[in-house]
Amino acid sequence: MNAYFHLWLIPGLPLAGAAVNGLLGRRYSHRTVSALALAASGAAFVWAIVCALRFAGLPETGLPLVEHYATWIRAGSFSAPFAFMLDQLTLVMILIVTGVGFLIHVYSVGYMAEEGGYYRYFSYLNLFMFFMLTLVLANNYLLMFVGWEGVGLASYLLIGFFFLRDSAASAGKKAFIVNRVGDFGFLIALFLMIERFGSLTFSEVFAKVSSLPVETAGVGLLTTIGVLLMVGACGKSAQLPLYVWLPDAMEGPTPVSALIHAATMVTAGVYMVARSNPIFFRSPTALTVVAIVGTLTAFFAATIGLVQTDIKRVLAYSTISQLGYMFVACGVAAFGAGIFHLMTHAFFKALLFLAAGSVIHALGGEQDMRHMGGLRRHIPWTFWTMTAATLAIAGTPFFSAFFSKDEILWNAYASPWGGNWIYWGFGCLTAGMTSFYMFRLWFLTFFGEFRGPAGATGDHTGHGHAGHAAGEPAHVHESPRVMTIPLAILAVLSVIGGYVGIPSVLGGANHFEHFLEPVFHAPPVTREIMEHSGRGIELLLMLDTTAAAVIGFLLAWLLYYLRPELPSRIAAGAGGIYRLVLNKYFIDELYGAVFVKPLIEGSRKLWHGVDEATIDGVLNASAHSAQELSDDVRRMQSGNIRSYAAWVTLGAVLVVAYVMWRGM
């Protein structure tokens, strides 16, 4: 079994693209820059497909396929290699990252055409691909951590891409700093593994973990490691309480939000938890923590999403909420379902962001949904693709997310690893809210009358609606082909992406999860087969969530299409609660008051009190006194030769006197 896939090519090509564009791109034309970046990411995608095809021909026994390139660190008995591995989970991830990544590269060519820093943008985007692929291909935690930090860096650079805008610069900083908190937990988990297992290579760590018993009670080693890993995942995947950076990350260009803050990077935490499944399988407590965090995040973020008015922020909170779903799946040890939702989410959420980007593009930078409306006639491609994505995320039957979301909710209810009706109940409520806020966005954007500033005189008045109070949008235009084609491809994927995992209750075979099964090592003792227990219940739950989605749709239809004056009345009626949710529960303000302000105040005290007053003070005082002393002593050197002579004489007399005195 000597298959050698040259896996290094997959992250290597985007790295080369990033290097060439980053170092030389300033001199290149836009065409050259985009050709280079597209070639790099496209070639990585092609190679990932080649690997997938060859992977299909491998015998099961040879997995995971490990390619060892070099030893990175060797210290005592510990060593960390530069090595990539390929198994089913990695394969799914690299296909998502390179596939969606390539489409978003294509889209960016159109979206960023008018922006400055074109080469910089594509260089960062390729750099992000490199780190993300390193993250998912690494065969040990340390190399994974390199990718983990690298995507954080790329995210920081791209959020702050419009760095002249103050809000973008500080959003980048916020993302980076909040992620540091999570990384702290991740690092401690790694240190614990080094100390207890002497290795960070997945196979070795998991082999040692597998020999340990399941920690049923109390907080043992595996629980500690698991919870710390989850802290890391909370930072990267924007879960409670570290989710605050993601909504602000919308300051970046929209394709970046699609690629990094929806489709790929934020799912790194889910990937990491799924990858660490042997640890979580042996710690029900850690699993419970994951499930509770996921449930609360899904619910909490969805409530905020209900009232946001910025189109990208709605999608940002939706992303947080959907990531919560994935963690619920991981928390009930249904890792396959989590990764399944990760994949469908990558399709439909990337599409939602790109379509939102297309709307923003069409309106010349307008992001407030209150100033949109009636756009479906003007930007039909965007409208139809957005519709596909909205139907998908809302959980419309036989769209992709229907399968993945119901798989998660079914597991949340029935999993032998702590599934119960509470997780399911919150999940179902969240599904209803998801449907509501997505259709709200859809109605506000594409239906009704245009509410933005009226168009230039005579521009669009020929439509026969001269009586409109708000007028017609001014220069609304459909995006160029280079943007709509990726939208169309993603729309197709959003619709059919779920068919790889049709659950058996609907007559499918759930290929996707069976494909991933070899990666997830459930302890054999407690392994139970759920498929035979309660098909009726599964169908019933499916109906419930679908009903919730339909109710969400009907509410949105009523409030934002039939009776558009109602929402403001309801908002006025709800008063305090509405303001609370509108202001995102004042979490940012709370963190500001509890963490940021004391830190700033404390730092200021250290700066003025310790650094300036004490350390600088001591140094300055000694320097100052030396200066004073010198100033006095300097006067001896008057320049008057006879006074020097007098000093010499005096000195000689003193020396002689001393010698004579000693001699006595």
Binding site: Q637, S638, G639, I641, R642, A645, A646, T649
Partner: protein
Amino acid sequence: MVPLGYYLVLGVILFACGVAGFLVKRNIITIFMSIELMLNAVNLTFVAFAAHWHVLSGQIFVFFVMVVAAAEAAVGLAIIIAVFRTRETLNVDRVNLLKL
């Protein structure tokens, strides 16, 4: 024979005169002569001790001192001439360009 003490007292007196002149006088040439006076006071002591102890090295030392004094006189007088040419004075208190 004149006792050693007499020579030493004479040497001290000469040396004290040299020091006093060196400190008090303003004319560079006078100061220069005062230095010579001090050197010769020392020479006198050397010679006196050499004769008293019957050791030659003291007398040889005197030659060295005289050689150095001669070299010093040559250089010193040259400097004095140069100073006089530029400053047109021999008053040491006015040769103060290096003063801070």
